[in-house]
């Protein structure tokens, strides 16, 4: 019952203190308490059945009340259970909560369009990509744009939780000074570095403590609308064993708890949580993607099996992890992509189940321009951004080329955010 305080922080335990020790000793969780027959619980840990019965009823009543209050708080137009109301279509469209309109814009029109307007509060959004592709750069911009008044931003401050490098305030200042979006605002309306808060954490325990206990307090006190965790993988990779099955299971449990903490923070405070993630290489077996379906073309070993089982095997293969992960990781669903460039977001399926949306940043591999003679010049790498999945509608995937040159948005706004000058260069040691 040790999780009772987490599940129901306000539950009054005075009448049941004598039951707790025995329940705890037999590892009865709150879920067990509700789903098991009270007689059986009373039998397992010797306790008076009537008391257990009363405890169960009280806990159930408290949980039901909790569900109702959360629903009321979040959706005021949701009718209370005792009453029924039928809503006409007009009512439905007009009773939208004002918060629904607010999103965090990335200040790049194409990217905003791909996201359906911007990042939606109440969700965990993951930004994943290789090192030095620009993930941190991308989220830095949002630390400022979240301060803009709705609908472009949330009108609130932001927090940057870093597990790798400390917040690059110099770059933030540059963005603030030179971005045309901010330039045309009055100095009073402009975002300010005063409302960007940062904290660094180097190990998993500190990270957990900060996210669980300090973050909710900071959000309330400082009126925060956007939280960035950069990056989620760093501390996990350092501390969790990922080669043994037991290690993976342990990591999966820890990731589940982290997901729950972040989700709670996002939903209860109507905030946007952005998490960056690293990648690992994907090792694919050599796969021959057959273009025709006639078994005659297949290898001799396959033709020995009867044709129907071959077809069944091929159908089964669409459900293999290797194949399906092409579509939810962001790498691999384009057949032209080279096999050796495929990556997997770190932390596996356990983490992918926790996030609501995934944005992938990719970089072209080295490109060199032939200048004649024996001279090759390194071309600037082109970066692309793609929305892999998002819960606010099935977004038609828009690939957006992030160039620094004149190929900006059609209305001619020069998006300084993506200016190549601001991208990390080799001299920059702060960026990994």
């Amino acid at each position: 019952m040790s999780d009772l305080l987490e599940v129901l922080p306000d539950f009054d335990l005075k009448a049941y203190i004598h039951l707790l020790h025995s329940l705890e000793k037999n590892d009865i969780t709150v879920a067990d308490l509700i789903s098991l027959d009270p007689i059986e619980i009373a039998r397992r840990c010797p306790l008076p059945a009537a008391d257990v019965q009363r405890l169960v009823l009280d806990v159930v009543a408290a949980l039901q009340e909790d569900v109702q209050t959360r629903a009321d708080k979040r959706w005021p137009f949701n009718s209370r259970w005792p009453h029924q109301a039928t809503i006409s279509i007009d009512e439905v469209t007009h009773t939208a909560c004002p918060d629904d309109e607010a999103r965090v814009s990335t200040l790049v029109p194409d990217i905003d369009h791909a996201l359906g307007g911007g990042l939606v509060p109440g969700h965990i959004i993951e930004v994943v990509g290789e090192s030095a592709v620009g993930k941190t750069q991308f989220v830095l911009g949002m630390l400022l744009s979240a301060q803009l008044p709705p609908p472009r931003g949330l009108g609130k401050g932001s927090i940057y939780v870093s597990t790798e490098a400390p917040l690059n305030t110099a770059r933030l200042k540059q963005m603030l000074i030179s971005h045309p979006e901010y330039e045309r605002l009055d100095p009073a309306d402009r975002p300010s570095l005063d409302y960007v808060h940062a904290i660094g954490t180097n190990d998993l325990e500190a990270q957990e403590h900060i996210l669980r206990y300090q973050l909710p307090v900071a959000i309330q006190r400082l009126n925060i609308g956007l939280i960035v965790l950069d990056s989620v993988a760093a501390n996990f990779r350092a501390e969790h064993e990922s080669r043994t099955a037991a290690g993976l299971a342990e990591r999966a449990t820890a990731l589940g708890k982290l997901g729950l903490t972040l989700r709670r923070v996002a939903i209860e405070n109507n905030a946007v949580v952005v998490v960056t993630n690293q990648v690992s290489d994907r090792f694919d077996e050599v796969r021959s993607i057959l273009r025709s379906s006639s078994p005659a073309n297949s290898s001799p070993s396959m033709s020995t099996a009867n044709p129907t089982s071959t077809v069944a095997e091929l159908r089964r293969e669409t459900q293999s992890l290797d194949h399906q992960q092409r579509f939810f990781t962001g790498w691999g669903d384009d057949r032209d992509e080279q096999r050796n460039q495929l990556k997997n977001p770190a932390l596996g399926l356990a983490w992918a189940n926790q996030i609501s949306a995934r944005i992938v940043l990719k970089m072209e591999s080295e490109r060199q321009e032939y200048l004649g003679g024996n001279i090759w010049k390194d071309k600037k790498k082109a970066r692309t951004l793609r929305v892999v999945f998002a819960p606010w509608g099935i977004v038609s995937v828009v690939e957006d080329e992030l160039h620094g040159e004149a190929q900006g948005p059609p209305d001619g706004k020069h998006t300084e955010l993506l200016d190549e000058e601001f991208w990390p260069t080799d001299e920059d040691e702060e960026f990994p």
Binding site: N26, S35, A96, S293, Q324, P391
Partner: protein, 379 residues
């Protein structure tokens, strides 16, 4: 002395029956009403919006009255972002159009209000009839913060949680909640104590309670239940294939309580929904991890609604086939020499003991099932 209330058997109406004080009694309907309900086909299921899928789910190919059957549970599983919630939303809007109430329970990712409102207005504007009516069913939305919260409202439903006239209950993203309280893989020391064994079995026991609770809600209230889950992976060392995706929530107890199971997945040629279990009968063999059953293609329109796509042969179509990976099948761990020690066990040269006959027979079953499924492929 209190006079017992007179129960008029000739005019018992379902609405009355539902307000029975005891939630353990099933509603009683007169025979004429049962016949009426049978004839009103559309009251029996909630349409998914995809005609062929409705037809497949009805079991008889009847597309007008098929769909998510009331009184039963349908499970929708698939990887992230593939469209499970989209299908659930579309079904919810269809239920609202019929005038039924919908109860949506979030377990992890919150359903965005804007999304459901847009879906409702989109359907309202298309269908002029319901627009002129101006009356829709009600959409109720609650969040289950932990598994305990979900169990509290499913196993011990508050009296007014589900008003009469509810047609659909959606539980979105169940596996995240389950995995938090009862992780799928619990690795303890090899020698488990009685206590640890009991704990390890709790996940499946709780799933069993949950599924029977949901079934009870479905039958008593005459509504359809949709549960969406993500996936987890399972290794397939025996067949030499790599890991496969499996539903995030599984186990014998859960599977037994689910009436339909649909897998939503993607391929190069688009998105698909496969029917793996329908009308309570599994269309795939249990051992075949990764089979997809009968398949319906779907596509996403620009406004976000899902439509069917006429795909010729979706999953094993001409454009995409993925050869099974060629890793070697793992050899049997017991070598012939070692078996000599356990002569008392009556093993034959392949290492099978006599009691393994069932396993051998099951292998034969797999062959038959494969042939059966292959022969029932859609044209």
């Amino acid at each position: 002395m209190a006079v017992p209330p007179v129960i008029d058997l000739t005019s018992s109406r379902p609405a009355q029956a539902r307000h029975n004080t005891s939630s353990h009694r099933l509603p009683t309907v007169s025979a004429s009403e049962a016949l009426q309900e049978l004839q009103d086909g559309n009251l029996r299921s909630v349409s998914t919006g995809l005609t062929s899928l409705d037809g497949l789910l009805s079991g008889t190919g009847d597309t007008s009255s098929g769909g998510l059957e009331r009184g039963k549970i349908t499970e929708l599983w698939g990887p992230a972002g593939v469209g499970k919630t989209a299908i659930a939303i579309q079904s919810a809007v269809n239920a609202l159009k019929e005038g039924s109430t919908v109860l949506w329970v979030d377990c992890a990712t919150a359903l965005s209000d804007q999304r459901i409102q847009e879906s409702i207005t989109r359907h309202g504007s298309k269908d002029s009839h319901s627009a002129s009516d101006g009356l829709l069913g009600e959409f109720k939305h609650v969040t289950a913060a932990t598994l305990s919260h979900l169990l509290a409202i499913v196993l011990h439903p508050p009296p007014n949680l589900i008003p009469s006239g509810t047609g659909l209950l959606v539980v979105d993203d169940l596996n995240v909640l389950m995995d938090l309280d009862y992780p799928r893989y619990q690795f303890a020391v090899s020698s488990k104590t009685e206590q640890q064994k009991w704990q390890a079995s709790r996940r499946y026991a709780v799933l069993g309670s949950l599924v029977s609770g949901l079934n009870k809600l479905a039958v008593i209230n005459g509504l359809a239940v949709v549960v969406t889950t993500g996936c987890s992976t399972r290794m397939r060392p025996d067949s030499g294939l790599g890991a496969a995706l499996v539903p995030g929530v599984g186990g014998v107890e859960w599977d037994g309580g689910v009436w339909n199971r649909l897998v939503v997945f993607r391929d190069f040629s688009g998105r698909f929904v496969g029917v793996q279990k329908c009308q309570g009968r599994s269309l795939i063999s249990r051992e075949e991890v990764g089979e997809i059953g009968r398949v319906v293609g779907l596509e996403v329109a620009n406004d976000g609604t899902l439509h069917e796509r006429q795909a010729s042969r979706p999953a094993d179509g001409a454009t995409t086939q993925v050869k099974p990976r060629a890793s070697p099948v793992k050899p049997r761990k017991r070598v012939f020499d070692e078996v000599a020690d356990s002569e008392s066990e009556d093993v034959d040269e392949y290492g099978w003991a006599e009691t393994d006959e069932d396993a051998i027979a099951a292998e034969g079953l797999i062959e038959d099932a494969q042939a059966a499924t292959a022969s029932t492929e859609p044209d």
